[in-house]
């Protein structure tokens, strides 16, 4: 067998055995943490393997990686180098957060309208309202199901709808520098300025990435919110896609016109503009804000493995019913993200205030990784499921603090079936309201 200079045998296969194992686990589904637990690897190791495979195979995301087969590589590479419009055909929802805005096709003159389409709806609930409103009527019942509606679980209790969310990162934000050569505008694409996070245009009218995505899968976007007291409006945005990639952020004192920010990294974020509700319903004991995607940067998403020329997309479900949020519907839009930031030409983002979350820093827990249930039970706010609903299933692994997620001061616990397969996981997200300590509840 051929050996590298360092003496380590070079594996003849395109992927190493370890990478194949991670790939197989990825195909079975689950998060990186879940794969790590299943294979007995660290989370970083799993991320590294996935990142290496994406780079080797020149694939754009884990979804494409899961679908990859050796014989398909050639075709996949061709597709990646195809013209931008072809990217739409191959683009599928990204294993990142599912936040969409509008995308317009080709030379359509409805670009501005599409670009400002509502991506997320927020509902601000007065603090003194009936908290049971959280348990609003369910959405349209799934068709052809014999299962009762899920909203009938347990009777509501008057509980304040405080905002459960990790805090977003503070501003100011370092500028994200484009790493790709901007594409020239063409007659069939839309052109936006590239600009940094201060709003300074770095490459005027030089790059276009919006195009029509075809197909794709449903991406769900929902929001949660609360009024902390009688004067402070706090919004929580929770976004997720079908791959379970999600993030939540909370923002205080939000007003129409503000920008709020969803941020994964300095070069991976989305900013939203808070707008008036598109069609608020009179008489509903709630106030709605519309929020639309304002700017976004994709360079640093997915651990930097994103290929410079790879377009990505995710789709908001067409006619996503939102009656429980006041009778509003989101119309389906598809958006394909390029590697540069977008700035709608008709608005000056830099002049708008950027909301800085006023929540206190989350509690930072010591890093914990244990397969010992007794140790896991020492994690603050630890909870376990009843044996009756998890027959024969056992605790397998818990990751707390930094080992769980550097963004959250919580933990995740994995439970396995009697056969040793991953059954489910329980995450605990601590809400940084400053009224408790890492040791336990303050009251």
């Amino acid at each position: 067998m051929e050996r590298n200079r360092g003496g380590r045998p070079r594996h003849p296969d395109v992927l190493t055995p370890a990478e194949w194992r991670v790939l197989e686990a990825l195909r079975e589904g689950g998060t990186n943490a879940e794969i790590a637990a299943r294979l007995g690897l660290s989370l970083d190791t799993v991320k590294t393997h996935i990142s290496n495979m994406l780079a080797k195979l020149e694939l754009r995301d884990r979804r494409a990686l899961a679908a990859w087969r050796p014989e398909e590589r050639r075709g996949r590479l061709r597709a990646l180098f195809a013209i931008p419009t072809a990217l739409a055909a191959i683009a599928k929802p990204l294993a990142w957060v599912g936040i969409g805005t509008a995308a317009a096709a080709g030379v359509t003159v409805t670009v501005a309208a599409a670009a400002v389409a509502v991506a997320v709806l927020l509902v601000v609930v007065p603090g003194d309202r009936d908290p049971s409103a959280v348990a609003r009527p369910p959405l349209a019942a799934p068709e052809a199901t014999s299962t009762p509606t899920l909203a009938s679980a347990v009777a509501p209790k008057p509980t304040p709808t405080a905002t459960p969310a990790p805090t977003a990162r503070p501003t100011p934000i370092p500028a994200a520098t484009p790493t790709t050569t901007p594409k020239p505008a063409s007659a069939t694409t839309l052109t936006y300025d590239a600009f940094d996070t201060t709003g300074t245009v770095t490459t005027p009218g030089s790059y276009a990435f919006l195009t029509t995505a075809e197909g794709g899968t449903t991406t769900v976007v929902t929001t949660y919110e609360a009024l902390r007291d009688g004067t402070t409006t706090s919004l929580r945005i929770h976004t997720s896609d079908v791959d379970d990639a999600s993030q939540s952020d909370a923002f205080d004192e939000v007003e129409v016109g503000h920008l709020i920010e969803w941020k994964q990294a300095d070069d991976c974020f989305v900013r939203y503009r808070v707008t008036d509700a598109p069609d608020a319903v009179a008489g509903v004991v709630s106030r709605e804000f519309g929020v639309r995607a304002e700017t976004y940067v994709f360079q640093g998403c997915q651990s930097g493995s994103l290929l410079a020329e790879t377009a990505m997309s995710f789709t908001i479900a067409a006619e996503l019913p939102l009656e429980h949020l006041g009778g509003t519907r989101l119309t389906g839009f598809a958006v394909v993200h390029g590697s540069l930031q977008r700035k709608p030409a008709d608005e000056d983002v830099a002049t708008l205030p950027l909301i800085t979350p006023s929540l206190s820093d989350p509690i930072r827990l010591p890093s914990v990784r244990t397969t010992d249930l007794a140790v896991a039970r020492t994690l603050p706010y630890w909870r376990e499921p009843a044996a009756a609903v998890t027959p024969g299933w056992t605790f397998a692994l818990a990751l707390g603090g930094e080992a769980y997620d550097h963004n959250y001061s919580g933990y995740v616990a994995f439970w396995h079936t009697a056969s040793g397969y991953a059954a489910f996981e329980i995450e605990a997200f601590y809400v940084p309201l400053g009224t408790r300590t890492a040791a336990g509840p303050s009251s």
Partner: protein, 78 residues
């Protein structure tokens, strides 16, 4: 589909794939419950096939999530 509901007397929401033409049997299903007393969101996420997909999986996960706070008898599946 996201659906707000109440689990174990706490505000919660569940995500699952509704049955029908768009149903995905392997879609992730998750139930998130907010516990105001501890200011913590507990999120139960199914991994195994029986805890993925549609409303049946959601019901099972709701029962698991409920049992984090209440007794077994109060969280029995319908």
């Amino acid at each position: 589909m996201h659906e707000p509901l109440v689990v174990a007397e706490r505000p919660a929401w569940v995500r699952y794939s509704p049955l029908g033409a768009q149903h995905r049997t392997w879609s992730s299903v998750a139930v998130s419950v907010y516990d105001a007393e501890t200011e913590t969101v507990y999120r139960v996420h199914g991994s195994i096939g029986s805890l993925r997909g549609g409303p049946m999986a959601a019901e099972k996960l709701i029962a698991i999530a409920c049992s984090l706070f209440l007794g077994e008898s109060e969280c029995a599946q319908p």
